[in-house]
């Protein structure tokens, strides 16, 4: 039996199955997020050595860089589920896309704020219109546009389809954000951590960064599962499985 993966995915895309699946995994994801977050903060703020050039001020990368990666990662997840939502009209894909948007917007906002706080002492300015900063700001506006468009429709599923379209078109901004430092002369420095080839960061500073990356990923999973569960209950309000849950809760 080699087709158990599509079968399992098909089953998982049904709202009651996903509701139970997400409910079971959510506490574990949150626990892992807190665990990795604490380890990363201790490693980054206490154990990691000061930088040769920037001293202690560089430590903001342990928040700034993982959040910046997440701002793009969440957008990619939103884009792919938007494609699935538009073509296959799967309710769960719409929910995942629309509930990813506020989380991604939050990560983008944190990226912009921490970058600004870092830019003032190091570069000498809070903000400058270079390609990396501007494209990241556009990313925030895309998230806000998706959230706004979704909520401007009376019918939630119609709103989700319209917003999914915007999310899908906006995905071309993600490679622009990533490659902006290579394509143009920017004030923002280039990539430090590379998937291929050696990274330009000492190991003592790299591992807390990677731990924080894991923490943000698990936080995203926990937050998305929670938001999706609430949204599924609201969308499927009249269905039997929701009534069953409401009765079980009332009996407690």
């Amino acid at each position: 039996m080699s087709n158990w993966i599509p079968l399992w995915l098909h089953k998982l895309s049904s709202p009651p199955t996903f509701y139970r699946f997400a409910g079971t995994l959510r506490p574990w994801a949150m626990a892992l997020a807190v665990l990795f977050g604490v380890i990363a903060l201790y490693g980054g703020l206490v154990l990691a050595p000061a930088d040769y050039q920037q001293g202690d001020a560089y430590r903001i990368i342990f928040i700034h860089v993982p959040c910046a990666w997440m701002s793009m990662f969440v957008y990619a997840v939103m884009g792919v589920s938007s494609l699935i939502a538009l073509v296959w009209r799967i309710k769960l894909a719409e929910v995942v896309a629309m509930e990813s948007a506020p989380i991604g917007a939050a990560f983008t906002f944190i990226t912009l704020v921490t970058g600004s706080l870092w830019g003032k002492p190091m570069w000498g300015t809070w903000w400058t219109w270079d390609a990396r900063l501007t494209s990241e700001l556009v990313l925030l506006f895309l998230y806000l546009g998706v959230i706004g468009l979704y909520h401007s429709f009376e019918d939630r599923r119609q709103g989700a389809r319209a917003a999914a379209f915007l999310a899908l078109i906006g995905i071309i901004n993600v490679p622009i954000v990533h490659f902006s430092v290579n394509w143009w002369n920017t004030l923002h420095q280039g990539s430090t951590v590379k998937l291929f080839g050696p990274s330009k960061i000492a190991w003592g500073m790299l591992w807390p960064l990677l731990a924080m990356t894991l923490a943000t990923k698990f936080y995203y999973i926990a937050s998305l599962f929670h938001r999706a569960r609430v949204d599924l209950l609201a969308l499927e309000g009249g269905k039997d499985w929701v009534r069953q849950i409401a009765e079980d809760e009332a009996r407690k």
């Binding site: 050039q53 920037q54 004030l187 000492a202």
Partner: protein
């Protein structure tokens, strides 16, 4: 895949393709005029002549920083591989401003001088502990002297 889904998939993919083409052309067009800065050699070859104010980027030449005793006025020379430009600035400089640091100055030309209204420091993408940097500097010290001597031989 049933025909309706296939049709929807084709439409969505065509829209993405159109958006990506538009984005790609936009990026390509901006390549020419969205450069954040000009280097001293670009300025000297006249590439910045169309701009009244522009950004000048390069390295602070070692030993060129001169501070005024009475005011916040600072003069220094910004160099790149093929040019040098004297810069005048009055104001507070960022912490990272020092010899051999990459800087970006905003301002305008006054004869052969660049009068800056803002000076920003650019840092590289390398992070390492100070001890490691010192050890590496020690190991490379001999090589650097050789390189400098070789570079000086090449200069006209």
């Amino acid at each position: 895949m049933n025909p309706t889904r296939k049709r929807r998939l084709i439409i969505v993919l065509l829209v993405i393709l159109a958006a990506a083409t538009a984005g790609g052309l936009g990026v390509y067009a901006l390549q020419q005029n969205m450069n954040y800065l000009f280097t001293p050699s670009q300025v000297q070859s006249g590439q910045a002549s169309g701009h009244r104010t522009f950004r000048l980027g390069g390295m602070v030449k070692a030993g060129s920083i001169q501070r005024s005793d009475k005011s916040l006025k600072v003069t220094f020379t910004v160099v790149d591989a093929g040019g040098a430009m004297p810069v005048e600035y009055t104001g507070i400089l960022p912490d990272l401003f020092r010899d051999n640091q990459s800087v970006i100055a905003t301002g305008h030309m006054d004869d052969a001088h660049f009068i800056a209204t803002e000076v920003l420091a650019k840092h590289d993408a390398t992070y390492m502990p100070k001890e490691l940097k010192d050890a590496m500097a020690k190991a490379h010290a001999n090589k650097k002297i050789e390189d400098a001597a070789a570079a000086q031989d090449k200069m006209p």
